[in-house]
C-alpha cells in the first residue's frame, strides 16, 4: 500500500473564491508592509553596524548583571538576550550582547570590544566569548544596498526568463507571486522581530527560487493543457492543471519541509532564523503559486492562439518546448 497524501484523482475548484484568496493575500501584504513601515525590522549588525558578542558560561545568565557590568562604559544602546536551545549542554548558558555602532567611528575598534570583554569577565569570571563580530557603518550601508539589489536582480532576471519561455501574462503573474512572498516574509520578520541579517537575504532569494519552481511547474502544465484543450475555457484548464500537478506540489513541499524542519529543530540556534525564513517561504511559496500566481494569470487572461506567433505578446521563444 502506497502512502498517498493526495488522492489519485482530484477535482478541487481552486478558483471558486479566487477573489477572496487574492483579497486575503492583498490584506496580508498590507499588514506585513505596514508592520515593516511602523515597527521596522530587527536588523542584525550586518545591516546597521555595531558589535555582537556571544558569551558562554557555566553559570546561569543574569542579564541584569551583564547590563550593570557594561553600563559604566557608556556605549549607548545595548541589547542583551539569553539564548536557549535544545542542543545546548547542561552547563552551556549562552547570551547574545549587541552593542550599537559607536558614533563617529567609521571603522570598528577593538578597544571597545576589549573593554566590554574585560568588564564582563570582572562580573562573570568563567565567561567565554565564543564569537565576536563587528561591522562598521560604512560596510553595513553597502550591505543593505547590495541585498536590495540582489533581490531586485533576482526578481528581474526571473521576469525576463519566464517572459522568454512563456508569455508576459505568466511572467507578470509569477513576479506578483514572488513579490507577495518576499513582502510576507519581511512582514513576519518585522511582526515577530526576528533578527534580520545577511543570511536572511540568502533565505529570501531561495524563497524566490523555490516559489518560482512551484509556479513554473503549474504554468508549464497550464501551457501544455492550453494546447491540448483548445476549446475549454481558461478557468477549467487552469483548475485541471493545478489538480493534475497537486500531488507533485504537495510531495515536493512535504519533502522539503521534512528536511527543513529537522534542520530547524536540530541545527542549532545560529542558523534557526535562516531556516525559519525558508520554512515560512516554502509554505507561502506553495500557497502563492496556486492561489496568487494562478489567480492573477486567470485575471490577466492568456492569448490562446498558440499556432501563429503573436507579435504583441511573447516572442519566438514563447513557444519553445524543451
Amino acid at each position: 500500500m502506497r502512502l498517498r497524501l493526495v488522492p489519485q484523482e482530484t477535482s478541487f475548484d481552486f478558483f471558486k473564491r479566487w477573489k477572496l484568496w487574492l483579497g486575503l493575500s492583498a490584506l496580508l501584504m498590507v499588514v506585513g508592509f505596514a508592520s515593516f513601515m511602523v515597527q521596522g525590522l530587527n536588523y542584525g549588525i550586518d545591516f546597521r553596524g555595531g558589535t555582537t558578542i556571544r558569551t558562554q558560561s557555566a553559570e546561569m545568565v543574569d542579564v541584569g548583571v551583564y547590563r550593570d557590568a557594561i553600563a559604566p562604559l557608556e556605549l549607548g544602546d545595548i541589547t542583551i538576550t539569553e539564548v536557549f536551545d535544545p542542543t545546548f549542554a547542561e552547563d552551556e548558558n549562552v547570551a547574545m550582547i549587541r552593542i550599537q555602532a559607536q558614533e563617529g567611528d567609521e571603522a570598528v575598534t577593538s578597544e571597545m570590544t576589549l573593554a566590554v570583554e574585560q568588564a564582563l569577565q570582572g562580573a562573570v569570571p568563567d565567561i567565554e566569548f565564543v564569537s565576536v563580530e563587528s561591522v562598521g557603518p560604512k560596510v553595513s550601508g553597502e550591505l543593505i544596498q547590495t541585498a536590495v539589489i540582489a533581490v531586485a536582480l533576482a526578481i528581474g532576471a526571473v521576469l525576463i526568463y519566464i517572459w522568454l519561455r512563456f508569455e508576459w501574462q505568466f511572467a507578470l503573474a509569477a513576479v506578483v507571486a514572488l513579490v507577495h512572498d518576499v513582502i510576507l516574509t519581511i512582514g513576519i520578520f518585522s511582526e515577530l522581530q526576528i533578527k534580520f541579517d545577511l543570511a536572511i537575504i540568502a533565505a529570501l532569494l531561495t524563497i524566490v527560487g523555490y516559489s518560482l519552481n512551484d509556479t513554473v511547474v503549474v504554468f508549464d502544465r497550464v501551457r501544455e493543457n492550453l494546447r491540448k484543450y483548445k476549446k475549454r475555457p481558461l478557468i477549467e484548464v487552469m483548475n485541471l492543471s493545478i489538480n493534475e500537478t497537486l500531488s507533485r506540489t504537495v510531495m515536493t513541499s512535504v519533502t522539503t519541509l521534512l528536511a527543513l524542519i529537522s534542520l530547524f529543530v536540530l541545527g542549532g540556534d545560529v542558523i534557526r532564523g535562516f531556516v525559519f525564513a525558508m520554512i515560512w517561504g516554502v509554505i507561502v511559496g506553495t500557497y502563492s503559486s496556486v492561489f496568487v500566481a494562478s489567480s492573477i494569470l486567470l485575471y490577466l487572461g492568456v492569448t490562446r492562439d498558440w499556432t501563429k506567433p503573436d507579435k504583441t505578446a511573447g516572442n519566438q521563444f514563447a513557444n519553445v518546448d524543451a
Binding site: Q56, T113, G136, K138, A150, A202, T252, T255, A259
Partner: protein
C-alpha cells in the same frame, strides 16, 4: 522504446563513481587532513618519521582534496580592511620636491628663485620669483613626467603640471592615481600575505575585494585582535653598509656589526653595519626595470630625507657594496657604481626578469604603503564552529532519513531508485565541492539540506507524470518514456530559474552567503543530472531485466 546507448550508460556510471571517489576523503576528514598537512610539512623539509606515519594514513593514489570548512564552522578570524590609498599621494608629492628643485635650478636666469609653498597634501606648489619665466618652468617640470605604468592608461603621464599665478602646481594625474591605488592595494595585499604566511597558519584567505579593500580570513586563529597585531607589524627594510661576506654562520661580526643570512644564496652570510643608512620607511617606490645594458634591474626612489642620506652615502662610498636587508635577511648586496643624488637609483645584479619583479615587490612590500582601517571584524570560536558542525551533521542525517523513508513509502521501488540517486547526489555535491576547492559554511549545510528536499522534486515530477501516463495506458514502457519526455520542460524551467537566483546570490554575496549559493547551485546541477540520467538509467536497467507487464509507481 526505452533505450539508452551503452556508451551513455558507461559515462553516467563513470560520473557517479568519480563523484563518489572525489567525495570519499571527506568521510575521513581528520585523517586526510593530518595526512595532507604532514605531506606539506615533509615538502618543506620536516621529514620526520612522525610526519611520514601521518602522511601514510591516507593512500597517496587516492584523491586527497577536501571541502574547505568556512570560518563559521572551523572558527577563526575575519577582517575586512580598507587601504587608505590617498596616503600614498602625499608621500609621492613630498618626494618630488628635490627632483623639481634640481631640474629648475639651471633655469634660474629665466625663472628667478624657487621656493616650496605650503599646499594640500596631494599636490606640490613651487613659487618662482619671475612669473614671466613660467612657460619655461612648466616646460622643464613637465619633462619630469613619466608615462603611467599600467595597461589601461598607456600613453598618459603620471603628473599634471599647471600654473597658478606665480606658482607651479604639480598633482598626480587621474590615470596615475588609479595606477597608484592599484599598486598600493596590491602591495598591501602582498605584505599582509607575507605577514600571515610568516605565522604559518592553515590556508588563510587573503583577497582583494572591490577597489581598495582586502578580505582576510584566517582559520584557527584566536581572535581578530590577534590577527590585526600580526598584520600591523610592518616589515623592516633597511639599507646597510656591508663589512664582509662569509659562509661561516658562526663568524664573529664585531662591535656595531651583525651577521645576517642571504635570502636567495643558501649558506651565504653578510656582516653588515647594524645602523642602517636608510630604512624602508623612506622608500616611496620600486619598480622592475632594465639597466642601460638591457639587463633586468629594479628602479627605486626615496622620499626627501631618505634621498639626502642615500645621496651622501653613495657619494662617499663608490665601489663598495651595500646590503638591502629585509627582516634581517639580505635580499641583495649590490656594489655602488656611482654617486646617486636625487633619491632614485637602480639595483642591478644577476637578475632574471622574474627576480627583478620579485625584488621590486619585496622592496615595496617592506612596509605597508598606506594605513589600513578595519571595516569589519569577526571572531568565531572553534567550539561554536564544532557545535555547528555537530548540529549540522545530525540535522542532515535526520533530514536525509526522513526524506528517504517518505520517498520509499510514496513510490515503492521507484522511490528507492530515487533514494539511491539522492545519496549519489549528495556525494556528487561533496565531490564537486572538493574538486573546485569550495568552502562549506553553515548556510552551505542548509543549502545541502534544502537540496536534499528539493532534489527529489525532479524525480517526483517524473514519477507523477508516469502515473498519469499509466492511466492512459499504452503499456508501462511507453508510460515511462513519456513521463520523462513530458516532465523535462517543467524540470528544466523550474531548475534554471532557481539556478539564476543561485548565480545572483553568488555574484552579490560574500562569505557564508556565497557558501550557500555554491552548494545550492551545485545541488541544482547534480540533482538535475541524477534525476534525468541516473534514476532513468536505473529504471531502464530494472525494466530490461524484469520486463514487467504492469508497473506501479
Amino acid at each position: 522504446m526505452l533505450q539508452i546507448d551503452s556508451w551513455k550508460r558507461v559515462l553516467i556510471w563513470l560520473v557517479c563513481v568519480a563523484g563518489l571517489i572525489l567525495a570519499l576523503p571527506n568521510a575521513f576528514y581528520t585523517r586526510v587532513e593530518q595526512s595532507n598537512d604532514a605531506i606539506a610539512a615533509i615538502e618543506i623539509g620536516a621529514d620526520t618519521p612522525e610526519n611520514q606515519a601521518l602522511a601514510a594514513q591516507w593512500p597517496s593514489w587516492m584523491p586527497s582534496s577536501l571541502v574547505n570548512l568556512g570560518l563559521d564552522l572551523r572558527g577563526g578570524a575575519h577582517l575586512l580592511a580598507e587601504v587608505q590609498v590617498e596616503d600614498v599621494y602625499a608621500n609621492r608629492m613630498e618626494a618630488m620636491w628635490p627632483e623639481i628643485r634640481d631640474t629648475l635650478r639651471p633655469e634660474r636666469a629665466t625663472i628667478g628663485t624657487i621656493r616650496l609653498q605650503p599646499s594640500e597634501p596631494d599636490e606640490i606648489r613651487v613659487r618662482i620669483s619671475q612669473p614671466e619665466g613660467m612657460a619655461r618652468a612648466l616646460e622643464v617640470v613637465r619633462g619630469l613626467a613619466r608615462p603611467v605604468t599600467s595597461l589601461t592608461a598607456a600613453g598618459q603621464n603620471d603628473i599634471i603640471v599647471a600654473a597658478d599665478g606665480s606658482d607651479i602646481v604639480v598633482t598626480l594625474s587621474e590615470a596615475e592615481k588609479l595606477a597608484s591605488d592599484e599598486r598600493t592595494v596590491r602591495q598591501s595585499l602582498e605584505i599582509v600575505r607575507r605577514r600571515i604566511d610568516e605565522v604559518g597558519t592553515r590556508e588563510p584567505t587573503i583577497q582583494k575585494q572591490g577597489i581598495d579593500r582586502i578580505l582576510i580570513q584566517v582559520p584557527g586563529i584566536g581572535s581578530a585582535a590577534e590577527l590585526k597585531s600580526i598584520i600591523g607589524t610592518t616589515a623592516q627594510l633597511t639599507f646597510n653598509p656591508v663589512v664582509n661576506r662569509t659562509s661561516d654562520q658562526n663568524a664573529s661580526a664585531g662591535i656595531g656589526n651583525k651577521l645576517v643570512p642571504s635570502i636567495d644564496e643558501p649558506g651565504q652570510y653578510y656582516i653588515i653595519e647594524a645602523a642602517p643608512v636608510v630604512t624602508g620607511e623612506e622608500l616611496v617606490d620600486a619598480q622592475p626595470a632594465f639597466d642601460q645594458n638591457g639587463r633586468p634591474a629594479v628602479n627605486f626612489r626615496f622620499n626627501t630625507s631618505g634621498a639626502r642620506k642615500f645621496g651622501d652615502y653613495t657619494r662617499d662610498n663608490v665601489g663598495s657594496p651595500f646590503a638591502i636587508v629585509l627582516d634581517d635577511e639580505v635580499i641583495s648586496a649590490p656594489v655602488i657604481q656611482s654617486h646617486i643624488p636625487g633619491g632614485s637609483g637602480i639595483i642591478t645584479g644577476r637578475f632574471s626578469v622574474e627576480e627583478s619583479t620579485q625584488l621590486a615587490v619585496l622592496l615595496r612590500a617592506g612596509a605597508l604603503p598606506a594605513g589600513l582601517t578595519f571595516l569589519e571584524e569577526r571572531t568565531i570560536g572553534p567550539e561554536l564552529g564544532q557545535d555547528s558542525i555537530d548540529a549540522g551533521k545530525v540535522a542532515t542525517m535526520v533530514a536525509f532519513a526522513a526524506v528517504l523513508v517518505f520517498m520509499a513509502l510514496s513510490y515503492g521501488l521507484f522511490g528507492i531508485f530515487a533514494n539511491i540517486a539522492l545519496i549519489l547526489n549528495v556525494a556528487l555535491i561533496f565531490g564537486l565541492l572538493s574538486m573546485i576547492g569550495g568552502t562549506l559554511t553553515l548556510p552551505g549545510i542548509a543549502g545541502i539540506v534544502l537540496t536534499v528536499g528539493m532534489a527529489v522534486d525532479a524525480n517526483v515530477l517524473v514519477f507523477e507524470r508516469i502515473r498519469e501516463e499509466l492511466k492512459t495506458a499504452r503499456g508501462p514502457s511507453r508510460a515511462i518514456e513519456l513521463g520523462y519526455e513530458k516532465a523535462l520542460s517543467a524540470i528544466l524551467d523550474a531548475n534554471i530559474t532557481t539556478f539564476i537566483t543561485a548565480v545572483i546570490l553568488f555574484a552579490m554575496g560574500s562569505g557564508p552567503v556565497r557558501g550557500f549559493a555554491i552548494t545550492l547551485g551545485l545541488g541544482i546541477m547534480t540533482s538535475v543530472f541524477t534525476a534525468i540520467f541516473v534514476t532513468r538509467l536505473m529504471i531502464v536497467m530494472w525494466f530490461e531485466r524484469r520486463r514487467p507487464k504492469t508497473i506501479e509507481v
